[in-house]
Amino acid sequence: MAVLSTPRSAVELASKGRPVKEILFRTVLLASLALALIFLIALLTFVLTEGWPRLDARLWENMPSIRNPEIAGAQSAITGTLWVISLTAVFTIPTGIAAAIYLEEYADRTRWYNRVIELNIQNLAAIPSIVYGILGLGIIARTIGLGFSVITASITLGLLVLPIVIIASREAIRAVPPSIREGSLALGATQWQTIYRQVLPASIPGIATGSILALSRAIGEAAPLIMLGAVSFIRFNPDGIFASYTVLPIQIFNWISQSREGFHVLAAAAIVILLLILLLMNSVAIWLRNRYQKRW
């Protein structure tokens, strides 16, 4: 145990009540961790045991069926999810990084408008997702006229997670020591060259981790997409950015509310697929962080 490595005298010097408090504090911390883990394990065990009979190729090879849970699959929902999330990444990551670079490297924090922007980004991150759904319906789907399509969903989800990408990217950019910038500038590089060749490469691990975590949030969203016309029954994969679509969370919700037991098993199996996609994305984030981490 770690306590044993502390010099004995130091422990003895401490007042009498302290070890008790120390133990109590540790127990509370450990219990908090255990609570989170127990729920996660319970959830995983439940969906795995419930969904196991249907966790096979039918799930991604077949299209949804309302008539027979035995032949039903989630292919259109899986491809729909991949389409929407890829497009969300295309919209949100460049925009988020650009905004973060502006705020960190160019913005003059003494100006009132920059402070207003900063405050608003913090606020935007806390807005409930359904509000973005209403925004997407009113402005993107109807006023701009993109309709109920993959691109409308992607732009809306992109807006939803943009504040998270900006905040994570800013943290990463801020963590690059000023001496790196000063060194680059002293050698005659322009500000843009300094950012592009020194600051950005050094902050990639943080930016990538933040972006992938933001996309992981977007992938589980159902509420805004219900507003945006993600349909509950579709037997076709999306064939472009203006196609109709559905996503895994919606398909899962639809199956759970069916009356036949077979569909509930199917829903559990689809939850496992969704968790696997999430896990894959998070592993990429961890890998990127470890691979490109730099210490000064």
């Binding site: 991949l82 389409w83 009356s259």
Partner: protein, 332 residues
């Protein structure tokens, strides 16, 4: 410097590869034959293979029926993509009257304000009755006393004035035991809720609020199954799927006790809780061959589709009316 750039481009490439492979996965995958026989259009009356999209939205009660129709239809016309949404009857009409969908599913007739919205946008439509539903009142298996309830008794339980006052079965009828009354039902956004409150409480949307509402009928099933004094209501399909767990109550609408069943719903004796389910195709959409073909298929095979998805099929008279209505619609 070059190391930095290499890193940046490596990450960018990784991101692009992930993005592209996902996108390609979407485009290149040809939809596999879902149930083996989906390819090779078997018996085509009209002949030509059609392509295009038919957008349907609306009631979640009617959605399983239209989805089943779409699934059967895809065996005949593999390239027509029928999508079915579940925005609810009201939400469906909102999109329909905005010209965003071709067909609207509805578990009640269109309301006046929805008609006005459709008129304002110039969206014309026809009402087609596609199936019958019997709203089924269910109680716990151990409930031996309530085999038949009158509309007045149901009203006594569900009317807004019953809130916090009617809490025990013996308040409904002194002959009933003193068992706590636990009520379950659909949420206020549902067409089923609108219909039930209208027929039982006399005013659409008027209901006591201290019951357990849920948009998911499985929750109602579990609730009634789990409490001896439980009572709930939902569509007949749901009762049929859960008949082993629950007991359906006979309803006395003034002409004696009638149990919900296919026959009593079809011949109209299960009053007042038997209702029609509708689809509203838009006149403009019917001009498109793929929409017309889908509706033709729907109407021609209506009883096969209804039986397969455990809906109450139309009677002979209603069926011929559906076909006649569709024929008139197509000439408009």
């Amino acid at each position: 410097m070059t190391r930095g750039q290499r890193r940046l481009s490596a990450v960018a490439t990784a991101a692009i590869v992930v993005g592209l492979s996902a996108a390609c996965g979407g485009t290149n995958t040809t939809p596999p034959a879902g149930d083996g026989a989906a390819s090779a259009p078997a018996s085509q009356g009209a002949g030509a293979e059609l392509a295009g999209q038919v957008k349907v939205d609306g009631s979640s009660t009617v959605a399983p029926l239209t989805s089943a129709a779409a699934e059967f239809f895809s065996e005949e016309q593999a390239k027509v993509n029928v999508t079915v949404g579940t925005s609810g009857t009201g939400g469906g009409f909102e999109k329909f009257c905005n010209g965003e969908t071709d067909i609207s599913n509805a578990s009640r007739p269109i309301k006046d304000e929805e008609k006005a919205a459709c008129d304002a946008k110039g969206v014309k439509y026809t009402e087609l009755t596609v199936a019958t539903d019997a709203l089924t009142v269910v109680v716990n298996k151990e409930n031996t006393w309530a085999t038949c309830l009158t509309v007045d008794q149901l009203k006594k339980m569900w009317e807004p004035g019953a809130e916090k006052k009617i809490t025990s079965w013996n308040q409904i009828d002194p002959k009933f035991p003193n068992e706590p009354l636990k009520l379950f039902g659909p949420g206020t956004d549902s067409g089923t809720f609108d219909y039930f409150t209208d027929e039982i409480n006399g005013e659409e949307g008027a209901s006591r609020k201290d019951y357990s509402p849920s948009e998911d009928d499985n929750v109602t099933v579990q609730g009634v199954e789990g409490s001896k004094g439980g009572l709930g209501y939902f569509g007949y399909t749901y009762f049929e799927e859960n008949a082993a767990k629950l007991k359906a109550v006979e309803i006395d609408g003034g002409k004696g006790c009638v149990a919900p069943s296919v026959e009593t719903a079809q011949n109209g004796t299960y009053a007042p809780l038997a209702r029609a389910l509708f689809i509203y195709p838009s006149t403009a959409a019917v001009k498109r061959p793929e929409v017309a073909a889908f509706l033709d298929y729907y109407a021609t095979n209506i009883n096969k589709i209804a039986t397969d998805s455990k809906f109450i099929p139309l009677n002979a008279e209603q069926e011929s009316k559906l076909k006649a209505d569709l024929a008139t619609l197509k000439t408009q």
